[in-house]
């Protein structure tokens, strides 16, 4: 079973969120998600400076067998995108919670943590998927 970093929030779309010190939030996809997708070959990133709406399309991750949308878990404006993924999309496979981050968003509202999962809840969620 994959290790889930304890300082992150998780969504049922298999995304993670990390609160940064400057108030922004880093977002990526979970180890479970990268493993299900397989080797990533391309990441379509949004533009820094653009706005995203909660549940709106934010990025596309493409593997050899599928292309999937990454939905914004929160509303806000994109303050940074991980440009290194353009040349090195497999960073998401090798380090989904670190170098494989996708975007950083400055939230427009307070984050509704009740809509997210703790590491423990997400682990339970994954276990139920396996059943």
């Amino acid at each position: 079973m994959s290790d889930l970093p304890g300082d992150l929030l998780y969504t049922n779309d298999h995304e993670w969120l990390r609160r940064e010190e400057d108030g922004s939030v880093s977002i990526g996809i979970t180890d479970h998600a990268q493993s299900a997708l397989g080797d990533l070959v391309y990441v379509e990133l949004p533009e820094a400076g653009s706005d995203v709406d909660e549940a709106g399309e934010m990025a596309v991750v493409e593997s050899v067998k599928a292309a999937s949308d990454v939905y914004a878990p929160i509303s806000g404006s994109i303050v940074a995108v991980n440009e290194e993924l353009a040349d090195d999309p497999e960073k998401i496979n090798s380090d989904p919670y670190g170098d494989g981050w996708i975007v950083r968003v400055q939230p427009s509202d307070a984050i509704d943590e009740s809509a997210m999962m703790s590491p423990g809840d997400y682990q339970t969620f994954l276990d139920e998927l396996d059943d």
Partner: protein
């Protein structure tokens, strides 16, 4: 017996499995006013023998007139070998080559086609083809919106020389997705873009130029390409593949080259056939490839390092991305592309240059001859390729009817396109000097008869 081999029992079991009562229920979402109950203008079915007789009778009515019409479809000599090879069973019956291990021949043919089209257009990558030139403009416009993400306007600016039918098709396909098409101003003398009246600040997502233009002229594509890029727009080029044998390819236009090249592939070995089936081609810069619609064949190697071919970048396509695919209405015109690949292989570059030069020479002779007739003049100054617009001193339609009575299809009536009496004529390499003299003499006769 119907083609679909389901028994009534199969059908009812399937309906039951998905929980609906009837096949009609599957179409519930379509508003009833859009449903057509019956087709009163479609006659009842007839036997193969009857339909063959009817079609032969209709075909005889066409006769075999001498054709001087271009305007988007061009009569070229097609070596007999082209369709002899293209209709071999291995090519004729093959469809989408998803199963690479069983489709190496088809895949390699498409790969060779892509290679030749990229060489002709001077761009990096080609897809496996589209339906036709007109729908290729719609696809290129939608592709520009996806790839040129900084521009949100959805506004496409068209040079005056873009085929008006292409604009209608593009609007029909892309208009409902918020794209708008606007024309740039025309310089009356040249028929081309009026560079003194280019609009600033319109934030176009793409600028489209057709070279040679619909009315046969050659635009300053370098200047227009650079202007488009200064505006933050893509440059979409609509080009004629025969002309590319002698004109500079879109990939070399201006400082940075066109972003996307499209066009009608029919001149490459596909008969005119009353309008279709044809095929569209599309090439683009490498950096835009993921937004390109349609299939792409790539070369790869197998586990034993032997070269092989496979469909590539399929995650963009509808069987994987469903509604998010780059296009859900495009296909590759496999058989037409096979013919085009054989045509280009048989002619080679020298052969294609020969066709282009002979077509240009013949059209030059035709224009010279026709302009010697009182009441006929060039509509625009400047060079042309294998088509030229003529201004006439009287209505065009009666003249074309009189020429048709003499078994000559005299050209495309431009009157409604340009707003004055005008005719677009084309003489490809299929015409002899005697043909051209015969046409000029017939034209002089019908003009004289019309004046009498």
């Amino acid at each position: 017996m119907p083609f679909i081999p389901h028994t009534e029992k199969d059908t009812s079991e399937m309906l039951q499995a998905i929980g609906v009562d009837s096949i009609a229920d599957l179409f519930d979402e379509i508003p009833p006013e859009l449903m057509i109950e019956h087709l009163p203008h479609v006659p009842p079915a007839v036997s193969e023998m009857e339909i063959s007789r009817l079609m032969r009778r209709r075909a005889r009515m066409d006769g075999s007139p001498m054709c001087f019409i271009g305007a988007g479809a061009y009569e070229h000599h097609i070596p007999t070998a082209v369709w002899d090879i293209a209709t071999r069973g291995e090519f004729y019956s093959a469809y989408t080559p998803y199963q690479a291990e069983a489709s190496q021949g088809t895949l390699q043919t498409i790969y060779e086609y892509q290679t030749m089209i990229t060489e002709l257009t001077g761009l990096d990558v080609s897809n496996a083809s589209l339906y036709d030139g007109a729908s290729a403009l719609a696809e290129a416009s939608l592709m520009s919106v996806r790839a040129n993400r900084r521009v949100k306007s959805g506004r496409i600016l068209l040079a005056p020389g873009v085929n008006p039918v292409y604009e209608q098709v593009a609007l029909a396909i892309a208009g409902a997705q918020g794209l708008t098409f606007e024309r740039l101003d025309q310089d009356a003398a040249s028929g081309n873009v009026d560079f003194g009246k280019l609009p600033e600040g319109r934030e176009p997502v793409a600028v489209v130029v057709q070279q040679p233009s619909f009315v046969g002229t050659l635009d300053d594509v370098d200047r227009l390409t650079d202007w488009a890029h200064e505006q933050g727009a893509f440059l979409i080029s609509i080009v004629n593949p025969t002309a590319l044998a002698v004109l500079r390819p879109p990939g070399q236009w201006g400082e940075a080259g066109a972003d996307i090249a499209i066009g009608e592939g029919q001149p490459l070995g596909v008969p005119m056939s009353s309008g279709g089936p044809y095929f569209g081609f599309m090439t683009c810069k490498q950096k835009h490839v993921r937004q390109m619609p349609g299939r792409i064949v790539g070369r790869t190697s197998d586990l034993e390092d032997n070269p092989g071919f496979a469909l590539t970048l399929q995650a963009r396509e509808q069987h994987i991305r469903r509604s998010k695919a780059t296009s859900n209405i495009c296909t590759n015109q496999g058989l037409m592309v096979t013919a085009a690949t054989i045509y280009m292989s048989l002619l080679g570059l020298d052969g294609l240059v020969g066709v282009a030069n002979a077509s240009h020479l013949n059209t030059t002779m035709l224009a010279y001859g026709l302009c010697g007739i009182e009441g006929v003049d060039r509509l625009y100054d400047g060079p042309f390729f294998h088509e030229v617009a003529l201004g006439l001193d009287r209505p065009v339609a009666p003249l074309l009817t009189a020429l048709a009575d003499r078994d000559i299809l005299g050209g495309f009536d431009l009157t409604s396109t340009v707003g004055r009496n005008a005719l677009l004529v084309c003489a490809t390499e299929t015409k002899t000097e005697a043909d051209i003299e015969a046409y000029v003499s017939a034209f002089a006769d019908v003009m004289a008869a019309d004046s009498a």
